[in-house]
């Protein structure tokens, strides 16, 4: 074999991570330039390098573009109703401590329609991981504004600019006592995968906000028409600050105002399951 032959790009049919994705469903439905596949890649790498047996990982997702992740990952995966994956995951985790339950879903699903379940799961500190993919918009339904759309951003239901304040999610989650809070973008793949790996280890509610590209949805209304425009945005405006003041990490997407990333919170907090053990003791079940 000659030297040049060996190093030509090699055209193949399968990737080495195909054991963890439902390859019979690829290529997936996400648009060109959408980074949801990158989120999937980072999650796959995180579970592959975690010490938890692969068969004990469970993914629950809700409705929306991100909700489709459950259908592409080759684990026990549940695609439930809009806004409800956290409640589903709580029920599952409470009865089966051996499972590592991860919710991967979108901003509209988890904090808008599912906001109530979200805050209460954090308050309880149920041992689940929640990877919230924030694309600033409702993509699947046709690019309507949501609770994470920055002020002034246009969408199909805010043609004059969004008139509402968006959530500052890391602040919200940290204020409710979560043991792990991080934010990364899909450009920061290795940091994101490391944060996911850490989230899998953390006991209690581990939260990562993943800022993602959405060129066909959010981008088409806001001068970010290509996936690469988002990559440039992330490269130019992201600042990594693990000790950031969380009151100041709200995302505006205005020029000159940074998107602050980092593993903001990593602390030990007794979980719901620890406290439930006390109940079992008082009820006489556990000694």
């Amino acid at each position: 074999m000659s030297r040049s032959q060996i190093l030509r790009e090699n055209i193949v049919k399968e990737s080495p991570r195909d054991d963890l994705i439902r390859k019979d469903r690829f290529p997936h439905i996400w648009c060109p330039g959408c980074s949801l596949g990158t989120v999937l890649k980072c999650y796959v790498e995180a579970i592959a390098s975690s010490n938890i047996p692969i068969d004990k990982h469970v993914v629950v997702s809700g409705i929306g573009c991100t909700g489709r992740i459950a259908g592409y990952i080759k684990l026990d995966s549940y695609h439930v109703t809009h806004g409800r994956p956290i409640a589903f995951a709580e029920g599952m985790r409470i009865v089966r401590p051996d499972l590592e339950v991860t919710v991967i879903s979108g901003d509209g699903d988890l904090v808008t329609i599912g906001g109530n379940h979200f805050i209460h799961a954090i308050r309880r500190n149920v041992d689940i991981n929640v990877f919230l993919v924030n694309n600033f918009i409702y993509g699947m339904t046709g690019n309507q504004m949501g609770s994470t759309t920055p002020i002034g951003a246009r969408s199909s239901t805010s043609p004059y600019g969004c008139p509402e304040y968006p959530f500052n999610l890391p602040l919200l989650v940290a204020s409710l006592g979560a043991p792990f809070v991080a934010r990364w973008t899909t450009l920061h793949v290795r940091q994101l995968a490391d944060a996911m790996k850490r989230a899998l280890q953390v006991k209690g509610f581990a939260f990562i906000e993943i800022i993602t590209s959405c060129p066909v949805g959010f981008g088409s209304y806001n001068e970010l028409r290509e996936g690469l425009d988002f990559i440039k945005l992330f490269r130019d405006s992201c600042v990594v600050d693990h000790n950031a003041d969380l009151t100041k990490v709200g995302i505006t997407l205005r020029p000159g105002e940074p998107i602050v990333l980092g593993n903001f919170v990593d602390r030990e907090v007794p979980t719901y399951h620890d406290l439930e053990k006390e109940v079992f003791k008082k009820a006489g079940w556990l000694k």
Partner: protein, 94 residues
């Protein structure tokens, strides 16, 4: 007198620059351009051939076949699981 600190690995003499061998699954590519944009060595360019959905998958730029350092950024960033890099020994190909 100023003290100039030069950070240099103490095992620099045995360090090798890794060499990567790029693998592509053309049917999965959606031509988002992430791998091309984010390659630190500019190894990849837009290809000429189109897959069944009409997307042009990336190819290695002329003369860049040995420039891949196996950082795997393209593999990580690819949303389609359509590209991956295997690290190979330089000795294997010379």
């Amino acid at each position: 007198m100023t003290l100039k600190i030069v950070r240099e690995p103490i095992n620099k003499h045995i360090q090798k620059i890794p060499l990567g061998w790029i693998h592509i699954i053309p049917e999965r590519c959606k031509e988002c351009g992430f791998c091309i944009e984010l390659c630190p060595k500019d190894v990849l360019i837009v290809g000429n051939e189109r897959n069944i959905k009409g997307y042009r998958w990336p190819k290695i730029a002329d003369g860049k076949a040995y420039d891949c350092i196996a950082c795997k950024m393209c593999e990580w960033i690819c949303p389609e699981f359509a590209i991956f890099v295997k690290e190979v020994e330089r000795g294997e190909v010379v």
